[in-house]
């Protein structure tokens, strides 16, 4: 990724996590099936928008965040859904989101 690159890295691909990085990652699903092409929004503890990515064909998404409590909200033409996740420090924090 270059300095000017603003493209989000491909979602759902394994990526090394730096020692200080707080990564929130998971999958969007509906009825147990993965949902690709969903708009996945990261909201902070106050409900303010922070970032948005599109889920991979396997439903995967990933955010680089900071420690705290976050809401992950997914929008798709088949429905919307959300889940919350607490990240107390660096590392990978899993979160699953069901849409209906």
């Amino acid at each position: 990724m270059s300095l000017d690159g603003c493209g989000a890295p491909q979602q759902g691909v394994d990526l090394a996590v730096g020692p200080d990085e707080v990564v929130l990652t998971g999958r969007v699903s509906a009825g147990g099936q993965p949902v690709g092409g969903a708009f996945v929004r990261l909201l902070d503890a106050a409900g303010e928008f922070t970032a948005e990515v599109v889920s991979s064909p396997e439903g995967d998404f990933r955010f680089y965040a900071a420690p705290g409590t976050w809401t992950v909200r997914a929008l798709h033409r088949s429905g919307n859904g959300q889940a919350s996740v607490s990240a107390d420090g660096p590392g990978v924090h899993p979160v699953e989101v069901a849409v209906a």
Binding site: A8, P9, E48, Y64, R77
Partner: protein, 281 residues
């Protein structure tokens, strides 16, 4: 200026896909999105390959812009409707860029690709060929583009609007939270800047909020309507979105986009930088 002059709805767009003199142009953060399916008949502009100089950190020059639009089959009197992913970040950037080079009729598709997809409207993978034109661009309209010296001089004189997320503004993060945090420049913001994240202006589906809501958001954040304004973000694309809101939707007269933004300012030697939320004093 009214909303109808600068925005079209998804419903209007779908009805006008084949209207002569209307050209749909997709500009995405993810430059591969177009190839996976685009609005029928739309051409693609790559914000990086097509709009940036390959060597210097600057835009393609006037001749380069003329060559690009001629090759895409866009004529001077066409109405260009821009749309893209990620809440129209790069479509808004292209809108500002088209205005910079003097294109007369350019509009944004309200909600961009997101609204289009959430509505379940058609996308296809057809290769789009438009006959080449002889496009003539104007000299850059520098009344809408700010450079670094102007930004330093604006401290304490003009409204500086930092449209990044609160964590980027305070210096906690150096890039949006969906991107790796590997940049080396300093974190923080330009002293006296107010923080109005671009996202405040958008609904969940990517469409713009009403003029009344937008005026209230900037008013509450402390934007002084009697002063000139410079908007910035990290690389100038999110601030194009806010520039669009302030200049095109709310009709503020003197609003510039600082495309150098934080990747330039945060790497300058000798300029003041402030950390924190800016609300302590």
């Amino acid at each position: 200026m009214s909303r109808e002059d600068v925005l079209v709805s998804a419903a209007w767009a779908e009805e006008n896909l084949k209207t002569p003199g209307v050209v749909f142009v997709e500009v995405d953060e993810d430059t591969t999105a177009y190839d996976g399916g685009h609005i029928p008949g739309a051409v693609k502009i790559d914000w990086k390959k097509d709009l940036q100089d390959p060597v210097r950190r600057d835009f393609v020059d006037r001749a380069g812009f003329e060559a690009l639009l001629s090759a895409r089959g866009i004529a001077n009197d066409d109405t260009v409707v821009l749309y893209g992913g990620n809440n129209n970040w790069f479509a808004a950037y292209a809108y500002w860029y088209f205005k910079l080079y003097g294109h007369q009729s350019v509009k944004l598709l309200d909600g961009g690709r997101k609204k289009w997809e959430l509505d379940g409207r058609p996308l296809d993978k057809e290769q789009v060929e438009r006959p080449a034109t002889q496009y003539t661009a104007q000299e850059q309209d520098l009344s809408i583009r700010a450079f670094r010296d102007e930004v330093v001089e604006a401290i304490g004189n003009k409204n500086l609007v930092d449209v990044r997320s609160p964590d980027e503004f305070s210096g906690k993060l150096l890039a949006p939270a969906h991107l790796p945090q590997e940049q080396a420049q300093r974190g923080g913001h330009i002293p006296t800047a107010i923080n109005v994240p671009w996202s405040k202006a958008a609904n969940e589906d990517g469409t713009f909020k009403s003029d009344e809501e937008l005026a209230r958001i900037y008013g509450e954040a402390g934007l002084d309507g009697s002063k000139k304004t410079i908007a910035y973000c990290r690389i100038g694309e999110r601030s194009s979105h806010s520039w669009f809101v302030l200049h095109e939707l709310l009709g503020h007269e003197d609003v510039k986009n600082y495309d150098g933004s934080w990747t330039e300012y945060g790497s300058l030697i000798g300029v003041p930088v402030e950390l924190g939320s800016g609300k302590e004093d």
